[in-house]
């Protein structure tokens, strides 16, 4: 079957979709947006969390056919979504840039550990985690890097979507609020402490910015 929907502000069309495919599969394998992760495919880990018409959901549990005509935001579009929200009070269309992929991760890119960008190597500047200059990050993305909340990073995309939605609703969550909001996102590397740090940091920066 064919499925039409909006991803990160861009109209997308997927053809020859098998009816049993999940939104997660369509994003990853058909639209070249592998940022949403396939860790459990049973709704237990939250790694595939995306916004579906604004609501955070596990994309592995959404049948592809169910997203017809709907709006999806993935981690690839989070920075732009967050920027639009700041500017217009709501998440919106994705302009240009890495957020709106249209093809898969090619081998060349895979060799380079990344889906886009010219660098064949990881480049690092003193005190600076930016590997590609000019990458604009949302508040929560930057906070995850700064707080050391990223290790293997497989849980990170889902956590970012979920944490961003939490801060959208509740700008100064208590620790228990953070824990509850993130209780559907498993992380095996960090022991969660630095994830809590990251969300606290993002909340503090958000309130400073207001």
């Amino acid at each position: 079957m064919r499925v039409n929907f909006t991803v990160n502000g861009r109209q997308q069309e997927a053809d020859d979709v098998w009816e049993g495919e999940s939104l997660l599969y369509v994003l990853r394998e058909r639209l070249g947006l592998p940022g949403s992760k396939n860790a459990c495919e049973q709704g237990e880990c939250g790694s595939c969390t995306v916004r579906l018409d604004g609501v955070p959901v596990c994309s592995c549990l959404v049948a592809a056919g169910q997203v017809e005509g709907r709006d999806v935001v993935t981690v690839e579009g989070l920075a732009e979504f967050s920027k639009q929200r700041e500017e217009h009070g709501h998440g919106g269309a994705c302009g240009t840039g890495g957020g709106c992929g249209s093809k898969g991760v090619s081998l060349d890119a895979a060799k380079q550990w990344q889906a886009h960008g010219p660098n064949s190597e990881l480049r690092s500047r003193a005190g600076d985690s930016q590997t590609g200059e000019g990458v604009e990050l949302s508040n929560i993305q930057q906070a995850f890097i700064d707080a050391g909340a990223v290790q293997c990073g497989f849980c990170t995309p889902g956590l970012l979507i979920q944490a961003d939605a939490l801060l959208e609703e509740n700008s100064s969550p208590s620790d228990q609020d953070i824990r509850e909001a993130l209780s559907g996102n498993l992380c095996r590397c960090t022991g969660y402490e630095k994830i809590l740090d990251a969300v606290r940091l993002a909340a503090a920066r958000q309130s400073e910015a207001v």
């Binding site: 009816e19 049993g20 049973q42 709704g43 549990l61 959404v62 169910q66 979920q162 559907g184």
Partner: protein, 298 residues
């Protein structure tokens, strides 16, 4: 596999009549797991997401008419006064992401004994409104569960709304799992006081082939409260009544040993939850504040 996308309730009923083997999918929280893990290959998937009325609820005089697809998150946020037991149960469902998608219709359609909302529905009292092209009917919740993962639906019927009695007294709900969040019930218990009728109702989850009520425990408590004049006096429940209630609830359970827990533990835990909930709800009824519903619990 075919994907049916009815745009209206009438279209959905027509589709279900034409393809009785079609598996309805709404939140996807059960069906998609089965598909992803290759446990099930339905011939037809019947998507209910486009049917707006399933996501609506209406608070009436005596009942809340809850659309089958109203997400648990909405129940928690909007119906905690009218349906406190169900709101508590909703809060124990899986994760925030799942609660954003899943609704009571899925629990009922799947009819797993471990479904989180069943004990709350049994305790509150509810009727399930189902419909087919042949017409609609109301199935009392006590008659809805017919076997392990089986319910009273005919092949051409879909669940439309659940008519849940508005709370006329305190309600509680607990579930035991071996994790502090995002866990499938090892067993669950719900209790509702109905001061208007001076009765109590209960619900037990995951401790019998179907969700059940602890009827002997209810009868005992109804009698004990009546005989002791507790409803009028609002006096403290005696420990012996609480214990007996717990023991009878425990006795109502008919669980199995499985990978999530032993039958013995399930019986034991049902008794503990029943006893505790009786104290909590009764203290709420007495208005002492000792039975407060803690922050985060709904």
């Amino acid at each position: 596999m075919d994907f049916l996308r009815p745009a209206s309730w009438e279209e959905a009923l027509a589709a279900k009549a034409e393809y009785p083997s079609a598996v309805p999918i709404a939140g996807g929280t059960d069906v998609m797991v089965e598909i992803n893990f290759d446990h099930r290959r339905p011939e037809y998937l019947l998507d209910l997401n486009r049917i707006g009325l399933l996501r609506e609820w209406e608070v009436g005089e005596d009942v809340v008419r809850l659309g089958a697809s109203v997400p648990y998150t909405q129940i928690m946020e909007n119906l905690r006064t009218e349906l406190p037991g169900l709101a508590l149960a909703s809060h124990t469902v899986a994760s925030p992401q799942i609660r954003n998608r899943g609704g009571v219709g899925g629990n009922l359609g799947c009819a797993s004994p471990a479904g989180d909302s069943h004990p709350a529905l049994l305790a509150a009292g509810a009727e399930v409104e189902v419909e087919s092209v042949r017409g609609s009917r109301l199935i009392p919740i006590d008659e809805f569960y017919t076997g392990v993962k089986r319910n009273a639906l005919a092949a051409d019927e879909l669940i439309k709304t659940v008519h849940v009695k508005k709370a006329d007294g305190p309600q509680q709900y607990s579930k035991v799992g071996s994790r502090n969040a995002m866990v499938i019930a090892v067993c669950a218990f719900g209790l509702a006081l109905h001061p208007e009728t001076r009765t109590v109702r209960t619900g037990i989850g995951s401790a019998a082939p179907t969700p059940i009520r602890a009827k002997a425990a209810e009868e005992f408590l109804n009698a004990a409260l009546e005989e002791g004049g507790f409803w009028e006096s609002g006096k403290v429940i005696t420990p012996s009544i609480a214990k007996q209630f717990g023991d009878l609830a425990s006795g109502a359970a008919n669980p199995i040993d499985d990978v999530r827990g032993t039958a013995k533990y399930r019986r034991h835990a049902v008794g503990i939850m029943a006893r505790r909930q009786l104290i909590w709800t009764w203290e709420q009824y007495r208005g002492t504040g000792n039975g407060r519903s803690l922050e985060g619990a709904a």
